[in-house]
Each structure stands twice: as structure tokens, then as C-alpha cells.
């Protein structure tokens, strides 16, 4: 009897211990989930060693010291450029302790810090899950850089605002962000194929229709896009078309971003939508498009199922593995202008920003002055194959051929470079949905305009709150 009791008791104790331990495990987890900032940032944070020599920097720049935290994601552009910049910056300002919060998922990992009001000093807004610029400005998370940017010079003494290809975006007269990547949407085709078939590369909408007719007759589909991410089609086709129809005046894009009443019903927009209708009615848009995500559509394109695709400059790099030998990427900035009209280059950019609650804004500003130099821009082009948002001559550098030829485009007078605009996400989603519906004939241009105007009205009401 007694032994039985002892056994029972010891079992109970064991169980209780187990309970206690599980409980502990649970509460540990709760502590973690309540305060994930510490645990989330540690694995990705790398602190550059602060054991540099005491000697003051050669230039008589401002004396900078203390911790300086920079957040950047490791995505399509890799991180070798940022690593190199940090290293060089460190050499120049040895008293600054640079904390790099970086990684492929850094946007998610840093989110709790932004929510808690403990953001890093400088942030590269890029990759999935990055800050929504408009929302962050509304929430007061980004520093107003308007006045600083007017006079800010880079390390070589050049005015930064003069160097930018795409100027800092205007948010109600203020600047909060500076674009750092510069790329362009456009219409891509295979130069080798066009030579072989003797097709003319289109220079305007009429010649585009003419060559599409030939392509269709040859049994190939002329134009494919990704219906799952309609932003490629609006970026490469619709927006340039709207600006062309507006007499090459890009101000209309700003009006669209500002959700001005009636802008989505205005004549330039309706004209551009009519061009989509033309494409659709002639059967030039591959019917498959609606079902394709970006990879699917790009595969169709490199496999010569389709002749044209709206895309970004990164496409050559992205499809390297799947591109058949002999394929030569060619890019036309826009195909929607009237004969004799100017090309429209619609840029895509990713911006950099300083947090309004930055603890070391001076270092953040110095870092911006450091990276917006021609030397850094060349290094970016060589390391990432993309363009940095600084006007620089890439000839003789190791940048990719597409980048070099694209960088030449942007200094040409026959080309209108559109400003970078950030659009309201709700309204953007609605016009993307409506645009896809338009390519299938599910809505008319008038219905498109009504839908988007309605979404804009709703967003306007929300902004007033």
C-alpha cells in the first residue's frame, strides 16, 4: 500500500514538474511574442567593429559618432553594395558604430520596432513587406527632408538634387524620400527574332499595330502581360499612354496620385484606355495573360509564344536561367505615342528615407551624402546590374549592356522621363482590377473610369479622417 502511495506521489510530482516546465516554456514564448523586437533583430544585426584607430578623418566634415542603424533588405540586388558602402563609410567616420539590420525578411523583422516607435535611423524601402510610403508619412514615421535636400551636397561637393535622375518625390510640397534605384518600365522584345523575321521595331502606336498584325499572321501572339500582377501592364503601357495623350505632360500622374476629382474620367485617360480597347479588339493581347503571374508570362515571352511584353529593366537578369541561347533583350520605352511623338520612360524606383524618430539623424544624412556620389553609383551598377538614381556616365564601367544603353536613353532630349509617384494602394488595386477586366471586355472604358473615380472618392474621404 505504502509503496503504491509513494509511486503515486512521485508521479504527481513529476507531472507537476512537467506542468511547471511547460508553463515556463509557454510564458517564455509569451515574453518573446510580446517583445519580438529584441529577438527578431539580433540574428540579422551585425555590428561593425568599432575598434578603428583614433586618428580624425582626413576631411574636415562634421564629427560624427555614436550608433547608426541602417535597415536594408537583401533581395534582387543582393547586399554587396550596401556592405561595401558601410565599410567605406566606416573608414571615413571611424567613430560611428554602424549597425546593419539586414536580411531577406528584414521588413517583417523590423516591423515591431516601427510599431513601437523605435525605428532604425535610415531605411532602404524595398522588397516585399516594406513600408508603405504614403501611410508612413501619414503616420509621421518619416523625416521631412525638404529643406535639407535643397542644399545637401554629396561627399564630392555636388548638389545631390542636381544629380538625381528621378527627383525626390513631392508629397504635398514636401520631400520625405529619395529614390535610390532607378529603373524603367518598357516594352521588351527579342532583337534577334525581329531581325530574323524582318519585323520593324515599333516607334509609335501605329507602327506597333502594324507589326503586331504581321506577328499575328505568322502564328505568334503579339503581346502578353501578367494579369495576376497588372501593375506591369499599367506601368509599361497605360501610364505612358496617358502621358502621351496629355501632350507629354506628366503632371497628370501627380493628379492621379493626389486623387483629384475627375482625373480618371479626363480625356487623356479615356484616350489611353481606348488604346487598350484597340489592342483587345484586334486580338493582339494574348488571352492567356489573365491567368499568368509574372514568371509565367516571362516564360511565355522567352519561349517565343509572344513577341512583346511590358516589363522592367530587371527582366533580363531575372530570366537569365530560362532564356534560350541567341535571345537578345531589347527595350522600347513606350509604344503608345502618336507617330513623331516623344518616347515616354516610366521609371520604377525604390526610395531611401530617414525615420522621424531617428536617434542619429546626422549620421543618416552623412550616409546619404556619402552614397549619392558618382563613384557609389558606378559601384552599384557594377555590383547589381541595375542603375543607381544618380546621373553618371557608365561607359567603360562593368555595368550590364542593358543598363548602359538604358542610362543613355535617360539623357536623350527625345524622351520624357516621368516623375516617380507613389499611388494610394486601394485606388491602385482598383484600377489594376479594372484594367484587367477591360482587356477581357468585361468593362467599358466608361465603367473603368466610374469604378476608379468611386475608389478615389472613398480614399479621399478616408484621408480626411
Amino acid at each position: 500500500m505504502k509503496t503504491k502511495k509513494i509511486v503515486f506521489l512521485s508521479l504527481t510530482v513529476l507531472l507537476l514538474l512537467a506542468v511547471g516546465l511547460t508553463g515556463c516554456g509557454g510564458s517564455n514564448k509569451s515574453a518573446e511574442s510580446a517583445k519580438p523586437s529584441a529577438s527578431a533583430s539580433t540574428p540579422a544585426t551585425e555590428s561593425a567593429s568599432s575598434s578603428a584607430e583614433e586618428s580624425p578623418s582626413a576631411e574636415a566634415g562634421p564629427t560624427l559618432a555614436g550608433d547608426f542603424e541602417v535597415q536594408y533588405c537583401v533581395g534582387g540586388y543582393g547586399d554587396s553594395w550596401q556592405k561595401s558602402m558601410v565599410k567605406q563609410f566606416k573608414e571615413k567616420y571611424p567613430d560611428v558604430n554602424i549597425i546593419e539590420s539586414a536580411g531577406p525578411k528584414i521588413n517583417d523583422q523590423m516591423k515591431p520596432r516601427w510599431i513601437q516607435g523605435d525605428p532604425p535611423d535610415l531605411v532602404f524601402i524595398d522588397c516585399a513587406g516594406g513600408l508603405d510610403v504614403l501611410q508612413s508619412i501619414k503616420d509621421g514615421q518619416l523625416m521631412d527632408l525638404t529643406d535639407w535636400l535643397k542644399t545637401a551636397q554629396n561627399v564630392d561637393g555636388e548638389l545631390i538634387s542636381d544629380l538625381l535622375i528621378a527627383p525626390a518625390e513631392d508629397f504635398g510640397g514636401k520631400n520625405y524620400t529619395i529614390p535610390f534605384v532607378f529603373g524603367s518600365w518598357g516594352t521588351f522584345y527579342d532583337q534577334a527574332l525581329f531581325r530574323e523575321k524582318n519585323w520593324e521595331v515599333p516607334t509609335d502606336f501605329d507602327s506597333f499595330l502594324a507589326v503586331s498584325e504581321k506577328i499575328k499572321a505568322s502564328g505568334m501572339e503579339p503581346y502578353v502581360h501578367t494579369g495576376v500582377h497588372t501593375g506591369y501592364f499599367t506601368g509599361g503601357f497605360l501610364f505612358p499612354a496617358i502621358v502621351s495623350a496629355n501632350g507629354d505632360d506628366p503632371a497628370i500622374l501627380k493628379d492621379m496620385a493626389d486623387l483629384k476629382e475627375g482625373v480618371f474620367k479626363s480625356e487623356p485617360v479615356m484616350k489611353a484606355l481606348q488604346q487598350i480597347v484597340t489592342l483587345r479588339d484586334k486580338g493582339f493581347i494574348d488571352k492567356a495573360s489573365g491567368a499568368l503571374n509574372h514568371t509565367d508570362s516571362q516564360i511565355q515571352f522567352v519561349q517565343h509564344k509572344d513577341a512583346f511584353i511590358p516589363n522592367g529593366l530587371w527582366v533580363e537578369n531575372e530570366m537569365k536561367q530560362d532564356t534560350p541561347a541567341g535571345f537578345e533583350f531589347g527595350m522600347i520605352p513606350s509604344i503608345t505615342q502618336a507617330p513623331g511623338g516623344k518616347y515616354i520612360a516610366n521609371p520604377y524606383t525604390s526610395p531611401i528615407a530617414i525615420a522621424s524618430k531617428a536617434k542619429n539623424p546626422e549620421a543618416a544624412k552623412a550616409f546619404i551624402q556619402f552614397i549619392y556620389s558618382k563613384k557609389a553609383a558606378i559601384e552599384w551598377a557594377e555590383l547589381t546590374g541595375a542603375l543607381f538614381n544618380v546621373k553618371v556616365d557608365l561607359n567603360g564601367s562593368k555595368a550590364s549592356a542593358l543598363s548602359i544603353s538604358a542610362s543613355k536613353y535617360y539623357s536623350s532630349p527625345d524622351l520624357v522621363v516621368l516623375p516617380a509617384v507613389t499611388n494610394n494602394e486601394d485606388v491602385k488595386k482598383e484600377w489594376e482590377n479594372a484594367t484587367l477586366a477591360l482587356t477581357y471586355g468585361k468593362v467599358t472604358p466608361e465603367e473603368w473610369a466610374d469604378r476608379v473615380e468611386k475608389a478615389a472618392a472613398k480614399a479621399r474621404a478616408k484621408n480626411k479622417q
Partner: protein, 297 residues
């Protein structure tokens, strides 16, 4: 230590860990979601603006919500019919028809359950691919001309196209559930029915169905609940709610609102709505499927 105390201690040792974990990972998030649903919050800043029932009022006037509800119930309805019919058929075939290789088929039919739903969705994306996909290739062979139907890109087919993968992925689990139920029915019942001259169909409707009704009920409720919460994965991989919201479901709309359009408050309100909807649906289903329980005595 009194016996009573020991007893409660013993019981507590079983209940407490579960309770703690349950509260932490299920109950707290639900409460938190309800709390957030009363705020206008982007999900990435300190600013949370209390707006009471504002998010719910907005949902009331949001046409996409209605579309998503309709799509959700469309999927649920056809999934219940599809999965239950096929699972029932397989279960009966594998237990009652004394066919050869039954265990082989059991494994084969269960196989999709082992795969992640994401893998299944990616697989079916390839099958549906308009110009490179298997389905259009087969159709082209049959009709002797090139078929290029964009299954996932045309709002006429896209929602229907989500059904086969969803059903295919669901059959195995419920088939196993029903097999177990059928196997627990005493063989003597079938024998006497056979002697009385009852054919397979009679046996199925008069013996099998009444005796496995409990399991059928559980299966249907499970399908309904998992569909309301779980259509997200398949929609996210296959269509992202497109084209033009044709395949939008509440689960994906929640994600889109919260993480792509930065309305975390609104997303939480949708989450609360899904919770309420699941509760109501389950209650109604329990009512509808109430039957006198038949027990083997």
C-alpha cells in the same frame, strides 16, 4: 494532502498546460483581433485611431465583401458535395466491395493529404497553364484543335477551376475517416440484410449511411470550417483573388487588406466576421443534419 486535493491536483496537471497554451495561442489572438478591429490602424505604426464600429460599417458597404462571402459559400457547397460523394464512394468501394489491392488505393487516395496545400496549388497552376498546361493539351488532343482556355484568368471559369484541387486535396482524409466508421459496423448486419435480399444500394442507404451518420456530420462541419479559414492558401497561390476579384474569398481579402493595402484594423474586422460566420454556419449545419442517432445495439 487530502484525497480530494490530490485528485484536483491530478486533474489540474492535465488541464493546465493545455489551457495555458490554448489561451496563449488561440484565445489571446482572438481577443486581440477583436480589439484591433475597432481601430483604424495601418499595421506598421504607433498610431491607432479608435473608430468604434467604423470598420464594420465599411464592410457593410464594401461590395467585395459580399462577393467574397458568395465565393466562400460557393466553394464550401461544392467542396462538401464533391468531397463527401467521392470520399463516401471510395470508402464503400474499399471496404464493402472486396476488391483487390484495396490497401494500395487507400494509400494512393490519401497521398494528396501528405502534400502541402501550396505544393498542390502550384501543381495545379501548371496543369491549368493556358499554353503549356496539361489540361489544355489533353483537350486539344480530344477536340483536334488548339485549346487555349485561360482557366484561372477568365472570370467565367476561375472559381470553378479552384474546385478540383481543393476537392482532390480533401478526399483522402475524409475517406479514411469514413473507412474507419464503416469498418466498425458489425458484418452480421450486412449478412442478414443480404439473406433478406437487400442489394448493395439498399445496404448502403439503409445500413451504412445511418450508422456512419455521426462521422458524416463531423466531416461536413470540418470541411465547412476549414474552407472558411483555409481557402486562403489555394487562392493566394493560384489567383491572388483575381481576375478582378472573381475568386476573392474572405480569407484572402483579409490578407490583402492587412498586408498589401495596409488596413490592419479593417483586416481584423474581416477576421472577426469570419469567426462569427463560422459559428453561425456550424450552428445551422448541426440543426439541419440532426437525425435520430442510430446505434448498433
Amino acid at each position: 494532502m487530502t484525497t480530494k486535493r490530490k485528485r484536483s491536483l491530478f486533474i489540474a496537471s492535465f488541464i493546465l498546460p493545455t489551457l495555458v497554451l490554448y489561451s496563449l495561442f488561440i484565445f489571446y489572438p482572438i481577443i486581440r483581433a477583436i480589439y484591433i478591429s475597432f481601430f483604424d490602424w495601418s499595421g506598421s505604426s504607433e498610431n491607432m485611431n479608435y473608430i468604434g464600429f467604423g470598420n464594420f460599417r465599411e464592410m457593410y458597404s464594401d461590395p467585395i465583401i459580399y462577393k467574397a462571402i458568395a465565393n466562400d459559400y460557393f466553394l464550401i457547397f461544392w467542396k462538401v458535395i464533391g468531397i463527401m460523394t467521392i470520399a463516401c464512394f471510395f470508402a464503400v468501394a474499399l471496404t464493402r466491395f472486396r476488391m483487390r489491392g484495396a490497401s494500395f488505393y487507400r494509400v494512393v487516395f490519401f497521398f494528396p493529404n501528405v502534400l502541402s496545400i501550396v505544393v498542390i496549388a502550384v501543381l495545379w497552376r501548371f496543369i491549368y497553364n493556358p499554353s503549356l498546361g496539361l489540361l489544355n493539351d489533353i483537350l486539344s488532343l480530344i477536340v483536334q484543335r488548339e485549346v487555349e482556355i485561360p482557366w484561372l484568368g477568365d472570370s467565367r471559369y476561375s472559381l470553378w477551376a479552384l474546385l478540383p484541387p481543393a476537392i482532390w486535396a480533401g478526399i483522402g482524409f475524409f475517406m479514411i475517416l469514413l473507412i474507419a466508421a464503416i469498418k466498425s459496423i458489425p458484418a452480421s448486419l450486412y449478412e442478414s440484410a443480404e439473406i433478406d435480399g437487400a442489394k448493395q444500394w439498399k445496404q448502403f442507404t439503409k445500413i451504412t449511411i445511418p450508422l456512419i451518420w455521426e462521422q458524416v456530420k463531423v466531416s461536413i462541419v470540418l470541411i465547412v470550417i476549414t474552407s472558411l479559414n483555409g481557402s486562403f492558401a489555394i487562392v493566394s497561390v493560384m489567383t491572388e483573388g483575381g481576375p478582378d476579384n472573381a475568386t476573392q474569398v474572405l480569407g484572402y481579402y483579409l490578407y490583402q487588406m492587412g498586408f498589401k493595402q495596409y488596413h490592419m484594423g479593417y483586416a481584423s474586422a474581416i477576421g472577426v466576421f469570419i469567426l462569427v460566420l463560422s459559428l453561425i454556419t456550424t450552428a445551422i449545419l448541426q440543426r439541419l443534419m440532426k437525425r435520430d442517432t442510430v446505434e448498433v445495439s
